[in-house]
Amino acid sequence: MNETLAFILEWVIKGAVLIAILLTGFAYTTYFERRFLARIQIRVGPNRAGPFGLLQPVADGIKLIFKEEVEPAEAYRFAFLLAPVMTMVPAVVIMAVIPWGDKVVMFGREIALAVTDLNVGVLYLLSIASISVYGIVLAGWSSNNKYAMMGGIRSTAQMISYELALGLSFVPPILLAGSLSMSEIIQGQQSSAWYIVYAPLAAIVCFIALLAEVNRAPFDMVEAEQELVAGYVTEYSGMKFALFFMGEYIKMAAVSAIFATMFLGGFDGPGVDTYAWLGPIYLFLKIFGLLGLMIWIRATLPRLRYDRLMAFGWKVLIPIALLNVFITAALIVGLGI
């Protein structure tokens, strides 16, 4: 019983730590994005609140809390309230299967640095990703606003289309590792090389699909102001809007972590075998780098037109990803990697 209690306590603590990191990480991702974008566009960016503008996210948060919550009179109230929650929750729980490091010894117990290690970890990622569409669908419908509806439908169609390419791009790492478990995929990369070396095409497809999955530029149909005002968030204000915003940025961090785990060795790095605590640091650095790449892409590429976006997803990405599955399988059988 004591052992069970310790086990439950361990889970709760790990979950709480993960959520705390994600929530503060979200705030500073927005800061990072604004500063980095400003640097690219030869501006200064937010630098007034606190040293180097470091308190800017706090100021934004306080402002959003005190804003008036407006609710459209004709909105479907329950779904309207449910939508931000349905966006936020999958964004947080998707990180549960990502390992942050190897085992460490703490308080006389051997603790694995991961919330959980499912033997179907990759499928868990895909199923949570497919669930996260509902927040957008509901927000678009329940606002009872044509722009919100159109924005919701557009981004939902985009997400379910790119999900297919995403799922297919996960297949080469699974084949190479011979397992659906995230920790075994990382072990496979530790014993050979990072899978971006073996499956560069899958890595590119995966990154593009992940960008589309989180509605980032150049796939940010949601923010096509000229066409859709603000898409499915048009009618949201105050904290409800903040929840959507939060969901989006946490998802950015989550997909960076997923990409790092599948293709960049996860927490792998020099010296991680001897010092297990280096694992989370390496993972953090990889996530940070990928977030920087996403912001860079946003600053560089213009938004795709909607029909081209769908054509690109269905006619380019999915065939490439499918072909790549065959190539990887043939290579594994032929060369015995």
């Binding site: 479907y76 779904a79 497919s130 569409v133």
Partner: protein, 169 residues
């Protein structure tokens, strides 16, 4: 009581509640949401039976893909609100008949042939893990698996061909 029984009872309550909610709700979108909740609880049942692969497939395919399309159709057709008088009076006796048959069957399985259920559960947990599932599908049932795949592909192409309008006319 054991933890498993408590978890089962809570889940069963949610599953039945969401099923009833789906039927009696007047708004089609909320009905669809109840159905999603129902699928999610079924997925957790699979997890409890030690079949994580089937649970995840359930969430991805049913809750994630099929229900999104349901919601799309409901929203795009604007069919959220049910019209008042429905002419389906004949449905009632048929529905009652089916429900009675289902209950009789369930009662028989639980109290009469309950002994047969346990090996089934073992079978599920054996098949549930991805490696054994794949081994069964690709070795033992290879031909049926491939035939199913071709049939599904044909059905998919068929659906697209039927909906595609002839450009000449």
């Amino acid at each position: 009581m054991e933890t498993e029984v408590i978890v089962f009872l809570i889940l069963a309550f949610v599953a039945i509640g969401s099923a009833i909610g789906m039927i009696i709700n007047k708004n089609a979108v909320y009905s669809a949401l109840f159905l999603i909740l129902n699928f999610a609880t079924v997925a957790i049942f699979y997890l409890m039976l030690g079949a994580p692969f089937i649970a995840m497939a359930q969430v991805t395919v049913y809750a994630g893909a099929i229900m999104v399309l349901f919601l799309f159709v409901i929203m795009l057709l604007g069919a959220e609100q049910l019209k008042k008088a429905d002419k389906g009076e004949w449905q009632k006796p048929v529905a009652i008949l089916f429900v009675v048959v289902l209950i009789v069957e369930a009662v028989y399985l639980i109290f009469g042939g309950g002994g047969d259920l346990l090996p089934m559960i073992n079978e599920v947990s054996e098949v549930g893990d991805p490696i054994s599932l794949a081994t069964k599908l690709f070795k033992e049932y290879f031909l049926p698996f491939q035939v199913t795949a071709v049939l599904l592909l044909a059905a998919m192409v068929g659906a697209i061909v039927i909906t595609k309008q002839d450009k000449k006319s």
